[in-house]
Point group: C2
Chain length 187, copies 2
């Protein structure tokens, strides 16, 4: 049923972000998003549970990338090396979508309930990363702290990448944040 | 109007935590909390906006303690030293309330919407700590990362303190987490 539409998901995402920016998140309906994308509401609901999930639907692929990259780092690598490799891989993926990321963040920043949702999603990424580190044989305390440190570096670098004026790639900002974290914790 | 009742706030908190544990957060009413504490609903609402805020009303004093301790650390101390002093001060304060903290956390863990609320409150503590570090002259990136690292050490130590069987004081767990974080980030 329904013919296959190339990149329906991407078109819905772009249409939604445009509309959220133009008229606000609350005042945008699923019908409008579908119309802007030239698709049906039915197609929308094949891809997203609701208009909020358009903003968070990208989290699962990020989690998979994070876990896979940590798992694929050579077994001899230190926990922080596996962590930074995983977080930088996420940074490189997001790099391709800077304009969309900025639009998305502006919507989230304006809505406390979306901000809460984002914090939950980030915490889930941290839990997944800690699990991947434990699967490498890293003890629980070290795995939890390495994952938290990785998320901290990510959050700080992401914030600068989203809000900053400069053109520094996100992965470079993440590397810088890890280096700074090492300097800071050394005291 | 209304006679002064010694420790009304503390009595309401203890009554609320008991009831949340006995019959669940949703099924507890403000009237029941007030009755259990031997107080009126009117008194309840002088202290808390709603039954959810009984769980989070303690955040502001923690934030004040965090900021004050960071500010009072000698100017010559490194950012991570001011951070760990501030986080340990919070740990010592919470130490006096371990039983209540466990009851509280059990309620929060059982309710995703309370968990989201807690993440927001923790993020606000991190922002306040970063601000206190910037006030000490720490540059923005270092302040953001030191605050994130401090919160990471706190979250991991707090989780072990709440859920762990051992009797290790929270402040000691926080020191251990900071030491482990240093070891980990050194690679």
């Amino acid at each position: 049923m329904g013919r296959w539409v190339p990149d329906a998901r991407g078109r819905l995402e772009r249409a939604a972000l445009e509309l959220y920016a133009e008229r606000g998140f609350e005042r945008t309906t699923v019908a409008e998003i579908a119309a802007r994308a030239g698709l049906t509401e039915r197609t929308f609901f094949r891809h997203f549970a609701d208009k909020r999930e358009v903003l968070f639907g990208g989290t699962e692929p990020l989690k998979d990338l994070l876990v896979r990259t940590a798992a694929e780092t050579p077994a001899s690598a230190a926990p922080i090396t596996a962590t930074s490799a995983a977080v930088e891989a996420v940074g490189r993926l997001l790099e391709e979508r800077r304009a969309a990321a900025r639009q998305r963040q502006a919507v989230i920043d304006a809505h406390p309930e979306l901000r809460e949702r984002e914090l939950i999603k980030l915490a889930a990424l941290g839990d997944a990363l800690a699990g991947a580190l434990r699967d490498r044989g890293v003890p629980g305390l070290a795995a939890a702290l390495a994952a938290e440190a990785g998320l901290a570096a990510f959050r700080v670098a992401y914030d600068r990448w989203i809000h900053g004026p400069d053109e520094e790639p996100l992965a470079a900002g993440i590397r810088e944040a890890f280096a700074e974290l090492r300097t800071i914790t050394a005291g």
